[in-house]
C-alpha cells in the first residue's frame, strides 16, 4: 500500500521528497533510451563541429576524428560570406515580426473587445485562410509581386510574410484578449479613453508574454523559408540566411571544413533567440497558447 501511494505522488508531479531520491524505479531504462535518442540527434552536429576545424588535407587523411592544429580560419572565411546573408535575414524577419505583432494585436483586440457589425463573419473569413495552403498561392503571389515591381527588394519578402504571419497571431491573441475581463475595458471607456488608448495603454502591456510567443513562432517561420526568397530576389547578395547557406554549400561544396563552419555559424542566431526566450517558448507550447 505504501509503495502505491508513493508512486501516486510521483505521478502527481513529485513533491520535494521524490526529487532528492535520485533515480526512481523504472527510470533507468527510460533515461537510457532517451539518452541514446538525444545522442543520435546531436551526432550530425558534433560531426559538423569536428569537420569545421579541418583543412582539406586534414579531412582527406582523417575525415571524422579531430585533428590538430584546429583550423579556426575556416570560421573567419565563413563569417565574411555569411554576414551579408545574416544581415538580410535580420532586416526581413525583423520587419516582418514587427508588422505581424502590430497588425495581429490590433485586429485581435478588435475581434475580442469591440463589437462591430459582421464581426464574427469577418473573423471566420480570416480563420478560413488557415486552410489555404501556400502551394495554392505560390504562383499567383509571385506574379503579384512582379506586377507590383517589388522583385529584388526586401519588400517582396516582408509584405507577404506579414500578411500570412498575422493569421496565427490573431488566433492566439484573440483567445487571450477574450479571457481578459470586459468590465475592465468598459471602465476605461467610462473614464473617457478611446479604443486606441485602451489598446495601447491597457491591452498591449497585459499581453506581453503572448506577444513573445507569437513573435518567436513568426521568426521561426520566416527564418526557415528556403524557396520564396530565391524566386523574388534574383541577386544572391539580397538573400536571407536560409537560402544563403544553401548557395554557400553549393559554391564551396568540396571545402568541407568551410562548409561546416558556415552551417554552424548560420545556426547561432536562432540558438541565441531560443536561449533568450526558451522559457517563454516552452511555456507557450505546453500551456494554453496552442490548444485544440
Amino acid at each position: 500500500m505504501e509503495r502505491r501511494s508513493e508512486s501516486l505522488t510521483a505521478i502527481a508531479g513529485g513533491p520535494a521528497r521524490s526529487q532528492t531520491r535520485g533515480l526512481h524505479r523504472g527510470d533507468g531504462w527510460r533515461t537510457l533510451a532517451l539518452g541514446i535518442l538525444c545522442a543520435l540527434m546531436i551526432a550530425p552536429l558534433i560531426m559538423a563541429v569536428i569537420i569545421s576545424l579541418k583543412s582539406p588535407s586534414q579531412f582527406t587523411r582523417v575525415p571524422f576524428m579531430p585533428t590538430w592544429p584546429l583550423r579556426w580560419e575556416n570560421y573567419e572565411f565563413a563569417v565574411q560570406i555569411i554576414s551579408q546573408f545574416l544581415l538580410n535575414s535580420i532586416i526581413t524577419s525583423g520587419a516582418t515580426v514587427i508588422g505581424v505583432l502590430l497588425l495581429s494585436s490590433l485586429a485581435a483586440y478588435s475581434f475580442a473587445q469591440i463589437p462591430f457589425p459582421g464581426r464574427t463573419l469577418v473573423f471566420y473569413a480570416v480563420l478560413a485562410l488557415m486552410m489555404v495552403p501556400a502551394s495554392l498561392t505560390l504562383v499567383p503571389s509571385f506574379v503579384l509581386i512582379r506586377d507590383l515591381r517589388l522583385i529584388n527588394t526586401h519588400w517582396s519578402l516582408i509584405l507577404p510574410w506579414i500578411a500570412g504571419g498575422q493569421i496565427i497571431g490573431i488566433l492566439i491573441l484573440r483567445a487571450f484578449f477574450e479571457s481578459l475581463p470586459g468590465e475592465m475595458f468598459d471602465a476605461c471607456r467610462i473614464d473617457g479613453a478611446s479604443d486606441w488608448q485602451i489598446y495601447w495603454h491597457v491591452a498591449l502591456p497585459l499581453t506581453r508574454s503572448m506577444l513573445g510567443v507569437v513573435a518567436v513562432l513568426n521568426i521561426l517561420g520566416t527564418w526557415n523559408n528556403l524557396i520564396w526568397p530565391t524566386l523574388t530576389l534574383p541577386e544572391r547578395k539580397m538573400w536571407p540566411l536560409t537560402p544563403g547557406l544553401y548557395s554557400y554549400m553549393e559554391q564551396y561544396y568540396t571545402s568541407y571544413g568551410r562548409v561546416m563552419a558556415g552551417l554552424l555559424l548560420g545556426s547561432i542566431p536562432l540558438v541565441l533567440l531560443f536561449i533568450f526566450t526558451s522559457r517563454l517558448f516552452v511555456e507557450g507550447l505546453t500551456s494554453g497558447a496552442i490548444k485544440t
Binding site: D27, L45, L136, T242, G266, V271, L273, I290
Partner: protein
C-alpha cells in the same frame, strides 16, 4: 482597427488564392494573358502526366512516413519523458527536444545531404568500416533509393514541437483520473491505452492534421537535396509545381497543381475532423 489586417489579407492572401483557382483554368505563361481552357489542365495532370502521378505516389509515401515519425514516434517519446519521475532529467529531456526546432531546417537538410554523399559521406564510410561494402550506395543519385534517402533524413526523426504538444496534453490530465485508474488496477500499458491515449486524442488529432497539411505541401527538403531528380524519382507535387511555374513557365498548369494540393489537404482535414473524435473529461 481591423482595416490594416484586412487590407494585407486581401492583397496578399485572398487575391492570390482566388487568382490561383481562376488561373488554373488557363493556358497561362509568364508575360501573356493566356487563353481560357476550362479543365484541360486537370485532365492533362491525371491522364497525361506520368511525373505528376509519380509525385502523388511519393507524396503519399512521405506523408505516411511523416505520420509514423511525427505522430507515432513522438507519442512514444512524449510518454517516455512523461513517465520519468526524476524531475531534473525530465526537465533536461524536455529542453533537449527543442533542439531540432532551433537548428535551422536547412542546416539539418544540408548536413544530411553531406552524410549521404557517395564518396566522402559518413554513412558510406561507416558501412565500409563495419564490412558492409555491398550496402553502400550513391544514396541521393540512384533513382530507386533516392526517395527513401530523402524520407529517412534527420534520423532518429524526433519532432520536438510534436513531443512538446503531446507532453502538454499528458501533463494536463488530472491526477485524480490516473489515481482512480491505478486503484482499479490499470497500470503500465493499460494506463496508456485506456486512460492517457484517449485523453490526448485532441492533441493527436491536431498533429495529424498539421502533419498531413505539411506532408502534402512540403518540398523544400526535396528542393535542397535532389531538385526532384534523379530522373524525377523524388518528384513531389510541390516540386513539380515549382518546376512548371519557374523553369518552363507553364504558370496555369502549375496553378492547377496547386489547386489539386489544396483539395487534397481540404479533404484530408475534413475526414480527420469527422472520423477521429476527441474525448473530453
Amino acid at each position: 482597427m481591423v482595416v490594416p489586417t484586412l487590407a494585407f489579407l486581401l492583397v496578399f492572401q485572398y487575391y492570390p488564392a482566388v487568382s490561383g483557382l481562376y488561373r488554373s483554368m488557363f493556358d497561362w505563361n509568364a508575360g501573356l494573358a493566356g487563353n481560357f481552357i476550362g479543365l484541360s489542365n486537370f485532365v492533362e495532370l491525371f491522364t497525361d502526366d506520368d511525373v505528376f502521378i509519380r509525385s502523388l505516389k511519393n507524396m503519399a509515401l512521405l506523408t505516411i512516413w511523416y505520420l509514423i515519425a511525427f505522430v507515432g514516434l513522438s507519442t512514444g517519446v512524449a510518454v517516455l519523458i512523461h513517465r520519468i519521475r526524476h524531475e531534473r532529467s525530465k526537465y533536461f529531456f524536455r529542453l533537449f527536444m527543442i533542439l531540432p526546432v532551433i537548428i535551422p531546417a536547412v542546416v539539418l537538410i544540408l548536413l544530411w545531404k553531406f552524410i549521404y554523399d557517395s564518396t566522402i559521406g559518413p554513412l558510406n564510410t561507416i558501412l565500409i568500416g563495419v564490412g558492409l561494402q555491398d550496402w553502400t550506395h550513391a544514396w541521393l543519385a540512384e533513382p530507386k533509393i533516392a526517395i527513401y534517402a530523402v524520407m529517412f533524413r534527420n534520423f532518429p526523426w524526433i519532432d520536438g514541437v510534436s513531443v512538446l504538444i503531446l507532453l502538454a496534453g499528458l501533463q494536463a490530465i488530472p491526477v485524480e483520473i490516473i489515481e482512480s485508474g491505478l486503484l482499479d488496477g490499470a497500470s503500465g500499458w493499460k494506463r496508456l491505452r485506456y486512460i492517457e491515449l484517449p485523453l490526448i486524442t485532441g492533441q493527436i488529432k491536431l498533429l495529424i492534421v498539421l502533419t498531413i497539411m505539411w506532408g502534402v505541401q512540403e518540398y523544400s527538403a526535396v528542393w535542397a537535396m535532389t531538385q526532384g531528380g534523379p530522373i524525377d524519382s523524388t518528384q513531389v507535387p510541390g516540386m513539380w509545381m515549382y518546376f512548371n511555374a519557374f523553369r518552363i513557365s507553364r504558370m496555369g498548369y502549375a496553378s492547377a497543381i496547386g489547386v489539386v494540393m489544396f483539395l487534397i489537404t481540404l479533404v484530408a482535414t475534413i475526414l480527420n475532423m469527422r472520423y477521429i473524435r476527441s474525448q473530453e473529461y
